[in-house]
Amino acid sequence: MTKLNRRQFSALAGATAATGLAAPAVLAGAKMKLVVIGGGPGGGTTARYVAKGSKDVAVSIIEPKHHFTTCFFSNLYLGGFRTLDSITHSYGTLSAMYGINMVHDVAVDVDGAGKMVKLGRGGEMAYDRLVVSPGIDMRYDTIEGYSAEAATAMPHAWQAGTQTATLKQQLEAMEDGGTVVVAPPPNPFRCPPGPYERVCMIAHYLKANKPKSKIIVLDAKNKFSKQGLFQEAWEAHYDGMIEWLPEEVTGGVKAVKADSMEVVTEDETVKAAVANIIPAQKAGVIAQRAGLTADSGWCPIDPHSMRSKMDENIFVIGDASVASAMPKSGFSANSQAKVAANAILADLTGSRKFPAKFRNTCWSLVATNDGVKVGADYKGGDAKIEVTSKFISKTGESADLRAQTAEEGNGWYAGITKDIFG
């Protein structure tokens, strides 16, 4: 960059003040500021792509955790295929290699008019553009008796880390012959095939260690993602162990009693050895504080950029956004992040804005060397993100193909975590 002399600088500053135009911060030596709330697949990827896309944008991530455990592949930890360490990532490369400023604090409020984020430990951060990628919060109030506290006894394990470790410890502590209740949530929710892959992984653990045990799935829905593939796997690998009950049979979980480990439906109370209660969800609370949510609890976005429909300086990425037809998944968030990063760089540096193209693929491990997948390509449509084409694994595939699909899943995990965390 050419250095300005004092007179040029004063003239520029005067012109800016006189015309009221946004200050060309780059010329004045100050960088444009991107602040990212959330250091998961959406936030981490957006921050990394903006940082590698321009030296003229200062990028910060506000994330309370020092290490991030991915929700994707946390079922494999429950099944004994992964350690918690192997799905836990540091932010070291993002700060050391990409110069991203990691702020380990909680974003508690956003002043959209003043373009400021308020931090939990006091202080504020100014931004030119803001990314809100907080993931999900639980709607505990949809199940009587369920709460953050009750979730220590009956974990949802739908935000990975302590909750996942608690569920694993409970499975290891239960006696052979006990009942594990898994309660999948109503739509829309994070990772549509996730609860059913989890059933496979818990069954895998029980079959090897506590074969007299049962799994009862008390679903809030009547159908689910990759249903034929999962039900095929339940029969083939875990015959007689799993009972799936749709909403039309039980009415779903109405209440829980954490003290007595009871799960209550309309007609029945199930005594559980382990209860994995996954409640209905909404966008992470900061999205609501920032005024980005609709009545649904999720954040409407422009399908060509992931820009919030509520505030043009803010982008919402991942689970918190209304990105249907895309599912809420780590892959979707990572994909959306690259569209958003391109739009943010175009805003801040005038670089080229390309058409919005998205992708999602979801691998599920159903047993050792038995993987299935579903996926689609998407584009920004008139009113929403639209599917351009899709695919799904078939029932009855050969063992070789299933083993190859399972191994692909491992390759994807290595690829996406490299793409998020550097």
């Binding site: 690259k338 695919f391 191994e407």
Partner: protein, 125 residues
């Protein structure tokens, strides 16, 4: 007279045989030439900045440093080869039947395919 007819028929058959053989032999050569021309036309549309942007959707699975684990590395492969592979995926032929890649390939325009192939060909393997 009969002999003449016989020779004539033989001659005709020989010509038919020769023509048929020539067609069988020449068609693959013509197809190969068409394919090379098609690949060249696709690569002529490459826009490297667009390719870099689109590649973001590939490295979610194809490890950015070319690490192979279940999903093959694609960094540093010749652009003509990458285009040919993706054309095979578009038609799900020559064992290129993985539904994830067939799905990706059929959504790419020639410009997008050329841009991606050029981008990945320039990366360190």
């Amino acid at each position: 007279m009969r002999k003449g007819v016989f020779v004539g028929i033989c001659g005709l058959l020989a010509v038919i045989w020769w023509t048929a053989t020539a067609v069988v032999l020449l068609v693959p050569a013509a197809q190969a030439e068409d394919l090379s021309a098609r690949i060249a036309a696709i690569l002529a549309k490459a826009d490297e900045a667009y390719g870099e942007y689109l590649a973001g959707q590939c490295v979610t699975c194809h490890h950015a440093q070319g690490q192979a684990q279940g999903i093959p590395p694609i960094n540093g492969l010749p652009d003509t080869y990458l285009v040919q592979v993706m054309l095979d995926y578009q038609l799900a032929r020559e064992e290129r039947t993985n539904p994830a890649m067939v799905n990706v390939a059929k959504n790419l325009s020639d410009e997008e395919l050329g841009s991606l192939a050029r981008h990945f060909s320039k990366l360190e393997p």
